[in-house]
């Protein structure tokens, strides 16, 4: 079975006042479906940039990205919309990855609303299911991020699925 995600000679350079910064320099790897790939390195070695390039939060400078066998390096906005329903990012800092002004429920159903595939009733039902899935107490449905500690905030960031 071809790899779920494959990256070939991926490069990402940033122009900085002090010249070209080689954040990601010729990286290649492949991940089978269901497997977990660990990327280890000191801060500033380009780990997060690599992740952001793969899910198109940042454009790549060179190299190719394959998802389910298809080349998605130069995905246009329509392809991107489809892609982003299958690729999710969970962030490092629980204190800045949630919109402080949205409740737990609003945060979880945000992608559902954007995908326009769910009626509002379906959204809240789905929200309930997702909260149970990631182990968040139902009574925290209307809580705001500032009322939660780091652990729970990360769980709220988890679902974000829109399929």
């Amino acid at each position: 079975m071809s790899a779920l995600v494959e990256v070939k000679n991926l490069k990402k350079y940033f122009e900085t006042p002090r010249g070209m910064l080689h954040a990601v320099d010729d990286v290649s790897f492949a991940i089978e479906s269901g497997k977990t790939m660990g990327i280890v390195g000191e801060s500033g070695c380009g780990k997060s940039t690599l992740g952001r390039v793969i899910i198109h939060l940042l454009d790549s400078t060179d190299g190719q990205i394959f998802f389910e066998g298809k080349d998605i390096t130069r995905a246009n906005t329509r392809q991107l919309r489809k892609l982003r329903e299958n690729m999710k990012i969970i962030f490092q800092d629980p204190y800045s990855s949630l919109n402080p002004r949205l409740t737990v429920e609003q945060t979880i159903i945000e992608p559902l609303i954007i995908s326009k595939k769910y009626s509002s009733r379906a959204c809240s039902a789905e929200a309930e299911r997702l909260m149970a899935l990631v182990g968040i107490d139902q009574r925290l449905r209307m809580a705001y991020p500032h009322e939660l500690d780091g652990g729970r905030r990360q769980r709220v960031g988890l679902p974000g699925r829109s399929r």
Partner: protein, 295 residues
């Protein structure tokens, strides 16, 4: 320094703590904010119901008792044309309040948009807007207002535009600063990765998290605009007599300061009261909206 991690109280029963409820609850606990709010509401009521409150029509001249000291009949005395000063002050509140609100509203709408654009997009957009703001800001506000209103001429709308123009810079700076503050927060990247459109990102994620300081700034600048409007009328610009604008009244009473000081004192007290109320409200709002106190 208080170690905040030791104070994280897990929510016992999470009542519906909407953001607004939290802010209002904290605002209510702050006495000066409450006083400020009460005075502002009273002033607005006074302006709206001016005809009922004012004992005399503001322009009714009574040449029999001109320059009368405060008496039971005229609690704040009369001016050189025998008009009742208290009535003129009551009607005058309409001009001061409406100039304050409208000028700040007009300038903040423009200022916030410019600030959001500069903060969110950065790069060339940011440079152009900010260089322009730098130049406008290097002319002290009132001088700018003077220059504009000299050319525009007196009158309500002209004064409003003259005062509003200067206030754009503060609203823009405040908005840009707070947008820059959250610009690199990860929840914006999360929104992008959730296929949110730029419009949705700005309206649902960026603005709700950055308007707080702008709101505080706006409340304070209402007071400043009212004071500047009075100053403009005082030096012969802005709203002209016979309209009962507080600044113009003080300017009118200036020559008679020796013989009838009440003509100058009472309008000034009302200006001070109004500006003080907005400033107290602004201080209260700043503490209530202060994220650090959010926990």
């Amino acid at each position: 320094m208080l170690d905040s991690s030791e104070l994280v109280a897990t929510p016992k029963s999470v009542k519906k703590q909407s953001q607004l409820a939290v802010v209002l609850r904290r605002l209510a606990k702050n006495p000066s904010a409450v006083i400020g709010l009460v005075v502002v509401v009273l002033l607005v009521l006074m302006a709206v119901f001016a005809p009922l409150i004012a004992p005399y029509p503001y322009d009714k001249q009574n040449l029999l008792n001109t320059r009368k000291a405060p008496s039971s009949e005229h609690i704040m005395g009369t001016d050189e044309l025998g008009r009742d000063i208290f009535s003129r002050i009551v009607y005058g509140s309409r001009y001061s309040l409406s100039i304050g609100f409208l000028a700040v509203l007009f300038s903040n709408i423009i200022g916030m948009t410019l600030g959001a654009l500069a903060g969110y997009f950065g790069g060339l957009v940011d440079d152009i807007i900010m260089r322009l703001i730098d130049i406008i800001q290097s002319i002290p506000g009132i001088l700018l207002a003077i220059a504009i209103s000299v050319v525009l001429g007196p009158g309500f709308i002209n004064t409003l535009l003259a005062l509003g123009f200067g206030a754009i810079t503060m609203a823009c700076r405040l908005m840009r600063a707070s947008v820059l503050g959250i610009r690199h927060q990860e929840f914006l990247e999360a929104a992008v990765s959730n296929n949110a459109s730029t419009f949705r990102i700005i309206t649902r994620h960026v603005i709700p998290n950055s308007f707080a300081p702008v709101l505080v700034g706006a409340t304070m600048s209402i007071g400043n605009v009212i004071m500047s409007a009075a100053m403009l009328s005082f030096i012969g610009l802005g709203i002209q007599p016979p309209t009962p604008e507080w600044g113009a009244m003080i300017s009118g009473g200036r020559a008679l300061i020796r013989s009838c000081p009440w003509m100058v004192t009472f309008p000034g007290i009302f200006i001070m009261l109004t500006v003080l109320a907005f400033n107290m409200l602004g201080d209260g709002l700043r503490d209530a909206l202060d994220p650090k106190l959010k926990k």
